[in-house]
Amino acid sequence: MLELSRITAGYDRRAPVVREVSLTVGAGRSVGLLGPSGCGKSTLARVAALLHRPDSGTVVIDGVPVRGWRHRAPREQRTAFGVVFQQPRLAADPRMRLADLIAEPLRATGRRDEAAAAVAGLAGRVGLSRELLGRRPHEVSDGQLQRACLARALVLRPRWLICDEMTAMLDASTSAALVAAVETYRAESGAGLLAVGHDSVLLNRWCDETVHWDELPRESRSGV
């Protein structure tokens, strides 16, 4: 279970974009979080993925409370998450070939020797040809790069996937292909999913349940 309780977070303590928000995703379940851009849903997703430390509130992952974020998070918790963002170009090192990009989390965790086999398996899943794996980001389309970013998110076989507007820049067919790859992985691994986006048609079709940002439980802030 992924439990976010009374999270307050943002980039300026005096004006947090997330205030006292709670959200729970059951083990193996998928939740779509809907909301307009700028509402704070991406920040909450980053808190959940241990990429952004909240000002207050608690996160519990599969029963274990989170005590540190980013590099302060224990590796076991950090690697429980695979994250895909909206803009693959901002999320990919332009100097890396796609194969290296996908294998990067393995190298960072000292499992370099598994890279070749893992990349070959994942490339098939996300629909990247061997030829494309040898290219650098500027030599591929946004859709192809996003396929590589999804493969990278899956390479450590995470228990949780966080997809933040993963398909917002992509055409219909590439979007459907990426969602299908996520769902295939979830079906065999039992991983849970938090998908954040603004497209209700997409999230309703994709996820077990969808919740609108405005409907998330919020504690009233007492005595502030």
Binding site: S37, D142, G143, M169, A172, S173, A177, S200, R205
Partner: protein, 334 residues
Amino acid sequence: MSPVNPVTPVSPVHPVSPTSPVLSVDNLSVRFRMRGGRQIAAVSDASFALAPGECLALIGESGCGKSVLASALLGLLPRNAETTGRALLGDLDLLAADERTLARTVRGRRIGLVPQSPSAHLTPVRTVRSQLEETVRELTGVPKAGLREAAEAAAERAAFPATHLDRHPHQLSGGLAQRAATALALVGDAPLLLADEPTTGLDRDLVDRTVDELRRHADTGRALLMITHDLAAARRIADRVAVMYAGRIVEIADAPAFFGAPGPRHPYARALLDALPERAFTPIPGMPPELGDLPDGCAFAPRCARASARCETLPAPVDGVACHHPEEATACSN
């Protein structure tokens, strides 16, 4: 058979419109010469026409050539590009015109460009008012004393609020930045508006508002060419749809028939609509071919359930559809 420019003229893929077109594109092809003698066939034999007041949506996956086509019309292709065919804007062939003509009389004046990312198109260090005034001064004969008023009128035409004219681009929301860019595109009163992915990254509400505004400008008699991968946006405002795959326009159809009944006739176009989450949500198997390595026949064949031996030859467009085995046009009996 030469894939670049067939010797035999292909039949026009669009019905001849009663008014003379604003833009008439005829067998437009773009080739990029790469190192080692390699060639990229970015656009091949594109033909379509656009009447005043009409909106044509050019749809397709990223990398299908639709943005290259737009750049070709604007004369903004890199040096290693070669174009063939014609693109008549009135009586001017955009493909034959020199850079001086394009810069002085076409871009901004005869073609208004609504850019993909407005924040990148606006100058960050200057207010919207000063950018509008400068564009008005450059493109129209308005004397200095009238600039302020003319700029405010231009903002109003794009529904940009006068209260925000003295702001810098980073102080604007995505929607207002898009309107500011649209206001700039409208200043020259160009008969053709070209919108290249005008809704990328916008929320659905904002997508709707942005394209509705573009539609409004078409309704005042401009022709609107909207390049987009957003099928919902195309459905909302387009009169006609052109579907591009691997550099070719594979289907041109009236938008209501295309998005409603009887639906698209080209297998790729059908599959693209079927990928939508409100429809079957099934991806098209495989990926588009590399534009540097296209087959001689139909480029969709490796992904097409209807492919047969005939598909090893290039299908010529017939009634707007370039396919050897198109879906029958059942609902309309012609």
